[in-house]
C-alpha cells in the first residue's frame, strides 16, 4: 500500500508518525532484550557450572547473571520516553 503524501490528511500523517514511534519503541525494547539475552546466556551457563561445583557461589552467580539485565531496562526507559 502506498500513501500519497500530497493527498494525505493531517490525521493520516499523525497516525503514521504514531505508528513509527511505536515501531521505534518496540525496537528499543526488543533489540535491548536480545542484547541482554546474548550476554546472559554465557554468564548463566558459566554460573551454573560454577555453583554445581561449589554451592556457596549461587548468590554471586545469580548477581553476575543478572547484571546485563540492566541493558533491557535502559531499552525500556527509552521506549517509554519515546511513547510519552
Amino acid at each position: 500500500m502506498t500513501v500519497d503524501i500530497a493527498s494525505a490528511t493531517l490525521e493520516q500523517i499523525l497516525a503514521n508518525q504514531k505508528g513509527l514511534l511505536a515501531i521505534g519503541a518496540g525496537l528499543a525494547v526488543g533489540l535491548a532484550g536480545i542484547g541482554s539475552g546474548i550476554a546472559e546466556k554465557d554468564i548463566g551457563a558459566a554460573a551454573v557450572g560454577a555453583f554445581t561445583e561449589k554451592e556457596e557461589l549461587f548468590g554471586k552467580g545469580l548477581i553476575m547473571t543478572v547484571i546485563p539485565e540492566t541493558i533491557v531496562i535502559f531499552g525500556f526507559v527509552i521506549a517509554i520516553m519515546m511513547i510519552i
Binding site: 548468590g59 554471586k60 545469580l62 548477581i63 531496562i73 525500556f76 526507559v77 517509554i80 510519552i84
Partner: protein, 643 residues
C-alpha cells in the same frame, strides 16, 4: 540488630581428670565454637574418650539399618535419653540380627530372581521347539545350527538342493534349529550366511524349552510373592522400631560427638586446653556452670589481649546473626549471598524492609497476593525444615506487601477495580478519585492506575533507587570508618554522594531550576577528585555505574507493567472466547485458569528475582563484603530425645 552477635575468645585449661565433666557441660550449653588445635609440637592433639570407637561402630550399624529400612520421616515425640541408653546395646544387637537375617533373605531372593530372569531371557527365543536342549550338542557326525535368518526366507527349498538328510525346527519367535550331517556343514553354513543368519546361543540347560519356561514362570511368581511377604515384614519392623532407631541414632551421635571432642583439644600429659569463641552474653553462664561441674578445677580466661589481632583476623571470628525473630527468615536470603563479616553491618534488617517493599511495589495485585498468600500459608503448615520455613515466611511477608500495594493500585488479576475516566473497572460504580497532577500532565488518582501514570512512577522508582543506594553508601561509610578511618570513609563513600549531588545540580541547571550549570559542574569535579584520591584512577571507569545503578530501579515499574500486560492479555483472550458463547465459554474459562496459573508462577519468579537483584547488585555493592565463618557451637540440637 545491625551487628552480628559479639564474640569473645576463651581458653579453658584444666586437669585431664575433669575433662569428661567439662565436655559434658560445654555440650549441654551448646554455645562454645571450638577452634581446632593444630599440632605445633608443644602440646598434643587429644585422644578420644574410652568407648568412642564402640559408639561410632554402633552408630554406623544403626545408620545402615536405618538406610536399609528406609527410615527418614521426622518423628516428633522426644524419648527420655537415660531410659533409652540403659537398654540400648541389647536392643540394638537384637535389631541388628533380625535386620541382617532379613537383609540376607532379601539378597537371596533377589539373586534367585535375577537367575530366573536370565534363564528366561536365554530360553524364550527357543519357545515352541519341541527338543530337549540336551539333544542339541555333543555329536560327532551332526552339525547343529541355531539362530535367526532373514524374515520370509524359504530355506527348505535351497536346503533340499544340498541334501535331504536334515532336520529343521522353527520356534515361535522365528528361531531355527537345524541339524545336518557334518559333511554338508560348509555348504549349509554358506547358504545360511546368504540368508543373513545370526547365531543364537543354545543355553546350557537340560529340558524342553516350553516346559522349562513354564517352570521358570511359576518360580518367578513364587519368588515375587516371597519378596512381597518380606517387604511386609520389613515394613512392620520399620513401623515398630522407627522411634527406637531415630532416637538411638541421635543418642549415639551425641555420645560420639562428646567422646571424640578431645580430638579438637590441645593436651599435655596431665592437662587439656580448649580454645574457642563464645557469644559475650553466654560467657558468665558458661564460667559458672563449668566451675560448678568441675569444682573450680578448670581455669577460664578471656583472650582480651588479642583485640588488635582479632581485628586483623576478621574473617576468622564465627558469625552468629543477632536479629529479632521477625527478621530471622531473611537470614536465608543473606546466606544465599554471603554471611556478614564480624566488623561489618549485618544488612538483614535492611533486606527485611526493602525486599518485601520492592516485591509488593512490582507485583501489587490483590488477586495474586491472595493466591500466593494462600499457597505460602498452606506450604508453611505442610512442609517443615528450616529452608522451607524461611522461604514461605519470606513469601508471606512479600505478599502482605503485595496486598497493600494491590489495594493502592486497585488491581485484581490484572483487572482495574475502579473506573478511570471512561476505562471501566471491575467494581461497578467505583470511580477513581482525582488527587493532583504530577509529571507530564499525568493525573494521580486513588486507586493508582499504573498504566496511566508511567512517567510519574518512573521518576518515583528512580527516586526510591537514589534513597536505597544512599542508605547503602551510609552503611558503607560506617564500615570503612570502623576499619580504615575517617579519611578513607570520606574519600570512598561520601565522594559518591557528592557525585550524585553534582549530577542533580547539573540537571537542575539544565532544566533551568537554578540559573547556572556552573555549581553542578564544580561539585561534580570535586567528587571525581575525591574518588580518584580514594580509589585511584580506576574510579573513572566506575563512574557510570552510579547512573546505571540508579536507572536500574526503574525495573520496579517495568517488571510490574509486564506482569499487568500478561494478565490483561489473558483476560482479553478469555473475555473474547466467553463472549462468543456456546462451547467457547469452556475454552475461555480454561484460558483464564491456565493463563493466570502461569502468571502466578511468574509472579513469584520475576518480582522475587528482581527485588533480590536490587538488594544484591545495587545495594550490597555499596557496603557489603560478606564471607564470614559460620558459628557452629559444640552441642547438638536434640529432636528425638530429651535429657
Amino acid at each position: 540488630m545491625l551487628k552480628p552477635k559479639q564474640m569473645s575468645r576463651v581458653l579453658l585449661v584444666g586437669h585431664k581428670d575433669v575433662l569428661e565433666q567439662t565436655i559434658e557441660v560445654l555440650h549441654s550449653l551448646h554455645g562454645l565454637h571450638i577452634e581446632e588445635y593444630e599440632d605445633d609440637g608443644y602440646f598434643n592433639i587429644g585422644k578420644p574418650l574410652p568407648g568412642a570407637e564402640q559408639d561410632s561402630k554402633d552408630l554406623l550399624k544403626l545408620r545402615s539399618i536405618s538406610s536399609f529400612l528406609g527410615i527418614g520421616d521426622p518423628y516428633h515425640r522426644p524419648v527420655d535419653a537415660k531410659q533409652l541408653s540403659s537398654g540400648l546395646k541389647e536392643k540394638l544387637e537384637a535389631l541388628d540380627s533380625t535386620v541382617s537375617e532379613k537383609l540376607s533373605r532379601k539378597s537371596d531372593i533377589e539373586a534367585n530372581l535375577k537367575d530366573v530372569e536370565t534363564k528366561t531371557h536365554d530360553i524364550t527365543p527357543f519357545s515352541g521347539i519341541p527338543i530337549d536342549f540336551d539333544l542339541c550338542s555333543g555329536y560327532d557326525s551332526l552339525q547343529v545350527f541355531s539362530g535367526v535368518i532373514k524374515k520370509g526366507t524359504d530355506i527348505e527349498t535351497d536346503l533340499k538342493k544340498i541334501t535331504s538328510e536334515y532336520q529343521l525346527f522353527v520356534g515361535n519367535t522365528g528361531v531355527i534349529l537345524l541339524f545336518v550331517p557334518v559333511r554338508y556343514g560348509d555348504d549349509v553354513s554358506h547358504l545360511l550366511s546368504e540368508c543373513e543368519f545370526a547365531e543364537v546361543k543354545i543355553p546350557e540347560i537340560s529340558g524342553v524349552p516350553d516346559i522349562l519356561l513354564s517352570e521358570l514362570e511359576s518360580r518367578h511368581d513364587l519368588l515375587t510373592a516371597d519378596l512381597g511377604l518380606l517387604s511386609v515384614e520389613i515394613d512392620s519392623i520399620k513401623s515398630q522400631d522407627e522411634e527406637f532407631i531415630l532416637s538411638s541414632e541421635e543418642l549415639l551421635a551425641i555420645e560420639t560427638q562428646k567422646k571424640e571432642a578431645p580430638l579438637f583439644f590441645a593436651t599435655s600429659e596431665h592437662a587439656f586446653v580448649i580454645d574457642g569463641w563464645i557469644p559475650d552474653d553466654e560467657f558468665t553462664l558458661m564460667k559458672s556452670r563449668v566451675s560448678e561441674a568441675t569444682g573450680d578445677r578448670v581455669h577460664i580466661a578471656l583472650r582480651e589481649e588479642a583485640a588488635d589481632e582479632v581485628a586483623a583476623e576478621d574473617t576468622n571470628i564465627p558469625i552468629e546473626y543477632d536479629n529479632p525473630k521477625i527478621v530471622k527468615p531473611f537470614e536465608a536470603v543473606m546466606n544465599l549471598y554471603a554471611r556478614p563479616k564480624y566488623h561489618e553491618i549485618d544488612p538483614t534488617t535492611f533486606v527485611f524492609i526493602a525486599f518485601p517493599l520492592f516485591y509488593g511495589l512490582i507485583l501489587g495485585d490483590i488477586g495474586y497476593a491472595l493466591i500466593l498468600l494462600g499457597i505460602s500459608l498452606y506450604g508453611r503448615s505442610k512442609l517443615h525444615g528450616e529452608g522451607w520455613n524461611s522461604l514461605f515466611t519470606v513469601l508471606i511477608y512479600c505478599n502482605i506487601s503485595t496486598l497493600f500495594f494491590g489495594i493502592l493500585y486497585g488491581e485484581f488479576l490484572g483487572f482495574p477495580l475502579a473506573e478511570l475516566h471512561g476505562h471501566p473497572g471491575l467494581i461497578p460504580g467505583w470511580h477513581t478519585v482525582d488527587l493532583f497532577t504530577a509529571m507530564g500532565d499525568e493525573l494521580v488518582t486513588f486507586p493508582i492506575h499504573r498504566t496511566h501514570l508511567v512517567s510519574t512512577l518512573l521518576i518515583l522508582t528512580i527516586l526510591i533507587g537514589v534513597i536505597h543506594i544512599n542508605i547503602g553508601l551510609l552503611a558503607g561509610f560506617r564500615n570503612v570508618l570502623k576499619q580504615h578511618g575517617m579519611r578513607e570513609a570520606v574519600l570512598e563513600k561520601v565522594s559518591w554522594m557528592v557525585l550524585q549531588l553534582g549530577a542533580f545540580l547539573l540537571l537542575f541547571g539544565m532544566m533551568g531550576v537554578i540559573p547556572s550549570m556552573l555549581p553542578g559542574a564544580c561539585v561534580l569535579i570535586l567528587a571525581i577528585g575525591m574518588l580518584i584520591a580514594g580509589e585511584g584512577a580506576v574510579a573513572i571507569i566506575e563512574l557510570p555505574s552510579i547512573l546505571s545503578n540508579t536507572l536500574s530501579y526503574s525495573r520496579l515499574l517495568a517488571v510490574g507493567l509486564s506482569s499487568i500486560g500478561i494478565a490483561t492479555a489473558i483476560n482479553t483472550m478469555s473475555g473474547m472466547l466467553v463472549e462468543s458463547g456456546g462451547l467457547f465459554i469452556i475454552g475461555g474459562v480454561a484460558v483464564f485458569i491456565l493463563g493466570h496459573t502461569i502468571n502466578t508462577a511468574l509472579s513469584v519468579i520475576a518480582p522475587g528475582l528482581h527485588a533480590l537483584r536490587l538488594q544484591y547488585v545495587e545495594f550490597f555493592t555499596k557496603f557489603y563484603e560478606g564471607g564470614g565463618r559460620i558459628y557452629d557451637p559444640f552441642g547438638y540440637n536434640r529432636v528425638y530425645t530429651e535429657e
